[in-house]
Symmetry: C2
Subunit: 127 residues, 2 copies
DNA sequence: TTTGAAAATAGGAATGATTCTTATTTTAGA
DNA sequence: TCTAAAATAAGAATCATTCCTATTTTCAAA
């Protein structure tokens, strides 16, 4: 049975109030700055717990640590190839066709999809 | 200027003749078994070089090391959430609409996309 | 309200994938 | 044949993440 913890509340608050897709290390530092006692291990453990529950997702970045996002509404991500910044992006996929095609082609029962775009963001373009 | 190396040729041969999406470690072991002198460092260095050239792509797996795929024809991947196996999958996205939508929503100039599905494969279903 | 078991924590050690370093070898054009 | 650039092997170093252990917190039942 899950029990309340101050540290978990702090992590959820931070994540649900930012659009910055922070890394675990960034979450840890911000909490520290704000006087939290949370340790790195606690940050990772709670993130994984929230991922299992489905409230948070992990975004894998090619060169660099994973980033985390609190999910209010389902969406996709765009990652800048130059600076690594992550943007939220809404695109409507035909999920039923997708599932059907995948099942026919490979026999895999699809539960989820990760649709990530890569490109160069505005800030990096003008440099 | 790029120079020929036996080790790079071995890596390319292995990758272009398998459908198994091996990890760097698996590539290293298979080469070793077949009498190659290639070291881990050499495997990683060449994989990254091939990725830069666009002939190989890296597939990020949630829990486990990256996997590598030689690209003959553009396609997507399906990853089994239970056993981690990677399947090739062909799905036709409307890339122009995608690029236009993304640019409007975020200002990012899209160069590439990663479209990965997750599910339970046939073998894992019947267990 | 006390109490005790389950859950959570801090802090640091351990792990595992990947990159880096250095001295040596190979490649390929002049 | 010679030489500079590129590549290599082997292992050290790094970095993100998980694991470990002793301690603390939570919460339901007595």
């Amino acid at each position: 049975m899950e029990k309340y913890s101050k540290q978990r509340e702090e992590i959820i608050n931070l994540l649900s109030n930012t659009k910055s897709h922070p890394t675990a290390e960034e979450i840890y530092s911000i909490l520290k700055e704000n006087g939290s006692t949370a340790s790195r291990g606690t940050v990772y453990r709670n993130l994984n717990q929230l991922i299992d529950k489905g409230t948070v997702i992990k975004i894998s970045i090619q060169d660099g640590p994973d980033r985390f996002d609190y999910i209010k509404e389902k969406h996709n991500h765009i990652i800048c190839l130059k600076c690594g910044k992550v943007f939220d992006y809404f695109y409507n996929l035909n999920e039923n066709k997708l599932k059907k095609d995948a099942l026919e082609q490979t026999g895999v029962e699809i539960l989820d999809n990760t649709f990530t775009l890569n490109g160069i963001c505005n800030d990096c373009k003008t440099e």
